[in-house]
């Protein structure tokens, strides 16, 4: 009792906005997962190396593949993996795990909107996990791979906006997939499937314009292109004028649509199947 009064153990550094506080805590938590982050970076590094050497071999014969020059392709590979790393495999696993084990009840007894809480957590973690790997990859890019600078200052600004929209798009996609965990036990399988679909349709593995026939139109109009293809396209200045507006408009529309879908799907999924465990 005396200890509590003589030395103030409870300091109050002031109130923070709720969702910001959640994001900050998630970032602190992510520090504890730094091994995961490092593992993620190493994994991404291998992908980048493999694709780098594959494409370099391909460009030995020619100066252009599709609309890409070799320096554009290098830039594309690097940015693509950097962006895709912003919401990593562990983040998606955590979301699914909370549903599987019923740990979401803890979030649900609080006066919080679940979708926003999750977004705040993912964003907080991404600031640490994602930004670390993104920065390392970018450093690598500028130092070793020698990527191109943004097409213009205007492109750079739009790139940042597009990355932010892409980030939320990926979050919403992962969130919607995670909801399937209410029905299936196989969260790991679901996560791998999610990863594969995102890697292909977002244009991470191969730029969308180089995808085989039937897949291409799907990827071109899918919401997932907003995660990688659209922001990187903006960075490289591939689209201008009307095309650029269309791309960003498509990205924004999908974002709104996915948000609405997630917001509505969540309570339904939650109610359709009950929370697990005593």
């Amino acid at each position: 009792m005396s200890a509590a009064t003589s030395t103030p153990v409870v300091t109050s550094p002031g109130r923070r906005p709720r969702y910001l506080a959640i994001a900050v805590t998630a970032a602190q938590q992510a520090v504890a997962y730094r091994i995961n982050t490092v593992a993620g970076i190493i994994g991404n590094f291998f992908w980048i190396a493999i694709l780098y050497y594959l494409w370099r071999a391909a460009f030995a014969e020619t100066t252009r593949i599709g609309s890409f020059t070799w320096s554009e392709m290098r830039t594309y590979i690097l940015l693509a993996f950097g962006l895709n790393a912003l919401i990593g495999f562990p983040t998606a696993s955590r979301m699914m795990y909370a549903i599987r084990t019923g740990d979401i009840v803890i979030d649900m007894v609080r006066p919080l909107n679940y979708l926003r809480t999750q977004l705040a957590q993912v964003a907080g973690a991404a600031v640490l996990e994602g930004v670390t790997s993104f920065t390392i990859i970018l450093a690598l890019g500028i130092g070793v791979v020698q990527i191109l600078p943004p097409a213009s200052p205007f492109a750079a600004v739009l790139f940042v906006i597009s990355v932010a929209m892409g980030f939320v798009t990926k979050f919403l996609f992962v969130f919607l997939v995670a909801l399937l965990c209410f029905w299936t036990i196989n969260a790991v399988g679901l996560n791998w499937a999610q990863l594969a679909v995102v890697n292909v349709l977002s244009g991470t593995l191969v730029p969308i314009e180089l995808l085989p026939g039937w897949l291409r139109p799907v990827a071109e109009w899918s919401p997932l292109r907003g995660i990688v293809a659209t922001p990187v396209g903006v960075y490289l200045g591939q689209d201008t004028g009307w095309d650029l507006t269309l791309m960003l408009g498509l990205q924004a529309s999908w974002l709104v649509l996915l948000w609405t879908a997630a917001d509505r799907a969540w309570p339904r999924a939650f109610r359709a199947v009950e929370i697990q465990g005593g």
Partner: protein, 350 residues
Amino acid sequence: MPIIEARGLTKRFRRPVKPPGLGGALRHLVRPRYEDLTAVDGIDLSIEPGERVAYVGPNGAGKSTTVKLLTGILVPSDGEVRVRGIVPFANRIANARNIGVVFGQRTQLWWDIPVREAFRLLGDIYEVPDDAYRATVGELVEVLDLAPLLPVPARQLSLGQRMRCDLAASLIHSPPVLYLDEPTIGLDVAVKARFREFIRTMHARRGLTVLLTSHDLGDIEELCERMVMIDRGRIVYDGPFAELTRRFGYERSLHLLFSAPLPEAERVIHRAIGERAPVIIVQPDETSVTLTFDGRETSAGELIRDLATALPVADLRIEEPTAESIIRKLYEGTLSFDGADRSDRQAIRT
């Protein structure tokens, strides 16, 4: 006006029926079959502000499900429920501000975050004003002696330490209602005692309304003036804990020790007491016997008078039922002399 009110509250779970094996799984995919399981079955409950209610019942009785219905994270299949006038599932967020919850098997702390940070985050989430935060957390830290634990991340806490922090975490926003779902599970005697002391203190200081589920009779006896017992989703007893022994404590036992072996004691006893009252006779060996009788029908004194001359009684002991034995028998449905099968016990409730 009651602070918690439920009328006909019912929760049915729909469970997929999957025949075993891969074939069964496939068959389930083609033609899914479900069975309904009624976890909470028409519960009427009315709790006044400041009451401390123990919510007990055997495993799977529906206690946790009721708590989840009261927090609004489950939607009732039928019936009505209000907590402070709010329908929890329809207005989960408004309800959340009024309640604190501790689930014994889950922590609400963050695994890798120091306890102090977790408290601060909760203060932010519930938008507790600065000075209220300092006062409340200061009090909780003092009463639960948490000062040494504040810089420790949750994963490094022992179960008892974690429980203390979880309790504090559930009260940071000073809710008027506190649900505790098996809060003392796995705690040692000293920590349990401290937990009970804490709840009593908080109750006295804040007039907290407490609903507690526990399998520990000590929790119930020491903390709660009222006990609600459920079995298979239905209330089988609702009343003061002390009343339980009075009401169901009619089953007495008389142990007799003989001075000489007496193999046929049962026959002798029946002859001696005649039609006085039904007794259950168990003779574990030749020199002793146990008679179980209904205290409402006859008394130990009358039985002893009848038997003292007929049997070579050397020593005797009368056993009064304990709350524990009564509760065990209610759970098992093995109260003698009551014809106490499960449907009858419905009628017992007040």
